[in-house]
């Protein structure tokens, strides 16, 4: 008897819990020479905005201890060119494509959600709320529960597609932003996006990336992400998708045990584009070894279900 790998994220059924993270697999198509998309549970496409973006000046990336910083500047072709040129090529695949989108005003989010919501090849939409809100002094939408509620609600009303909100780890209390997204009608939550970070070339006294600040991803982020998945899945009743530094099956299992129903693989794809195969195989093997009939039956199954901790150090 095999393990049942399929998992539902609200109304969206994923054939398995291993998916590719937004920004780490282009529009899916560039992965094709290296990975069979049909073997994946889902593919989260590069973040799209109505106007598109040429992105930031290089250098855009820098490796740090256990991770990397990126400041791509959300380079993307724009929603309309995506729908016209890329989306048609995604039809016919047997995996769930999810469009990731963002804006700098609530209206920009709404427009993107409405337009992408019409595209049949998309199983769901993932909102990236780690963007500065230019109408509110440039503070990230995702750090403030009220802004999260407002932008999620507005997008919720603009589309009937499943709407997943990707939380920012850069909130004082991520359970508050999580609940705000749930209250506003989000169908699922993705935890988490990158942490703002910086690196300096001391010999040149220059910033390692031209934008100065970028997002930290990779293994360095994993313990923060697992903690957030755990905290968030305790306070919401919508599904949580885990992401942050996942490289191996054991990493993915940490997220699932902490409460995630599916996982996304980002930075690890740069190390090995086929690592999702090994992650999936390892998860299946784990279920067999530990007597879990399905991935579903593993979600949140820590041995010790005791209350939330308080103080540390």
């Amino acid at each position: 008897m095999g393990v049942d790998l399929a998992i539902s994220i609200g109304s969206v059924r994923l054939k398995n819990p291993v998916t590719l993270a937004s920004g780490c697999c282009g529009y899916g198509l560039d992965m094709e020479p290296h990975l069979d998309l049909n073997r994946l549970g889902g593919v989260f496409l590069k973040g799209l905005s109505m106007a598109g973006s040429e992105g930031n000046r290089p250098p855009r990336i820098w490796e740090t201890g256990g991770g990397m910083i990126n400041a791509i500047g959300l380079q993307n072709v724009g929603v309309a060119p995506f729908l016209r040129e890329k989306a048609p090529k995604l039809r016919g695949y047997d995996t769930a494509f999810v469009a990731n989108f963002y804006g700098h005003t609530v209206d920009q989010y709404v427009e993107a959600a409405r337009a992408l919501g019409e595209e049949p090849c998309l199983a769901a939409l993932e909102m990236n709320i780690s963007c500065p809100n230019i109408q509110e002094g440039g503070i990230q939408f995702g750090t403030d529960p009220a802004s999260v509620y407002k932008v999620t609600k507005a997008c919720r009303d603009a589309t009937s597609k499943p709407l997943w909100v990707k939380l920012s780890p850069n909130a004082a209390d991520v359970t508050a932003t999580a609940k705000a997204a749930e209250d506003a009608g989000a169908d699922a939550l993705t935890c988490i996006n990158t942490m703002p970070a910086m690196a300096i070339d001391v010999e040149k006294r220059e910033f390692r990336i031209s934008n100065k600040i970028g997002g930290l991803s990779g293994p360095a982020l994993k313990p923060i992400a697992v903690r957030i998945v755990y905290q968030v899945s305790k306070v919401v009743s919508i599904p949580v998708v885990g992401i942050g530094g996942i490289c191996t099956a054991a990493d993915a299992l940490e997220f699932v045990l902490a409460g995630a129903r599916a996982v996304q693989v980002g930075t690890a794809l740069f190390v090995d584009p086929q690592c999702p195969y090994a992650i999936l195989a390892g998860m299946e093997d784990y279920c067999l070894r530990h007597g879990f009939p399905s991935v579903e039956s593993l979600v949140g199954q820590m041995r010790d279900g005791a209350p939330m901790p308080k103080c540390h150090e």
Partner: protein, 258 residues
């Protein structure tokens, strides 16, 4: 194409440089292409590093690289010992276009520093195909001249310049390039420090086609992270293109140096 497992066959060090020969299932590649390489050293550093192919023997299943230690990743590659395992994704990127130049005039290959290896691979192909070329190599000192033996085996005698005059002509590689271009080179192929590439582009502009292999920090090496872009002029529009995918070889006329 996933990452392929290779075994270190040899790693010959000279000063900060080493020539790394790997054995494994080697896919046929073209000069100018590169691999993303990484050893089994855990997560420090995490990302693989791009290295141009110096030469390969697909039938023998070997492939060669030449690298200089500049940081953690190259240091780790430098320390590899025969028998150790390495994973490589490749060949990646667009090669130097070889079909494009008028065969009646020689091409000119301009290499500096760790830009020399891909040009050695190119020289080998041009030799095999019977295309004439001149090979220019610029270095700081005689110690920094690379691949002189490989070139010797190919029967190529490079025109050498060194900044301190310790070998060949004293000065920059632009001087012999000037002479080559004035004699009417059919095309220039260059790889090396940005300053050199800029000079090659400028000197060729409007006269001779130039094919420049660029360097950029890379995340993935295969087009998905958008980490490696360079600004280029496409049909009058300034756009960012990926060095790993649209490059690493770009037409010198389109690059917007900034």
């Amino acid at each position: 194409m996933g990452v392929n497992p290779f075994t270190v066959l040899s790693n010959v060090r000279r000063g900060p440089y080493c020539t790394l020969t790997l054995r494994g299932e080697v896919a046929p590649s073209e000069p100018g292409q590169f691999y993303m390489l990484r050893g089994e050293w855990g997560a420090d550093p995490l990302l693989p590093r791009p290295l141009s192919i110096l030469g390969e023997d697909a039938s023998a299943g070997t492939i060669r690289f030449l690298l200089k230690v500049v940081g953690k990743g190259t240091q780790r590659l430098y320390e590899l010992e025969p028998g150790q395992r390495v994973t490589g994704l490749g060949p990646l990127g667009r090669p130097f276009p070889r079909e494009v130049f008028p065969k009646d005039r020689p091409a000119v290959l301009v290499g500096g520093g760790v830009g020399v290896p891909p040009l050695v691979f190119l020289a080998e192909a041009l030799r095999r195909e019977g295309s004439a070329f001149t090979f220019l190599q610029g270095a700081r000192t005689a110690e920094d001249l690379l691949c002189m033996e490989e070139l010797g085996v190919l029967g190529v005698s490079p025109v050498v310049t060194t900044e301190d005059g310790s070998s060949g002509e004293k000065g920059l590689v632009t001087a012999p390039l000037e002479r080559s271009l004035s004699k009417g080179s059919s095309a220039a192929y260059a790889c090396g420090p940005e300053g050199m590439l800029k000079a090659v582009a400028r000197m060729c502009s409007g006269k001779t086609q130039s094919h420049l292999s660029l360097e950029a920090r890379m995340g993935c090496g295969y087009g998905v992270c958008l980490g490696c872009v360079v600004a280029v002029n496409r049909d009058g529009r300034r756009v960012y293109e990926r060095v790993c995918q649209e490059g690493p070889v770009f037409d010198g006329e389109v690059i917007l140096w900034e």
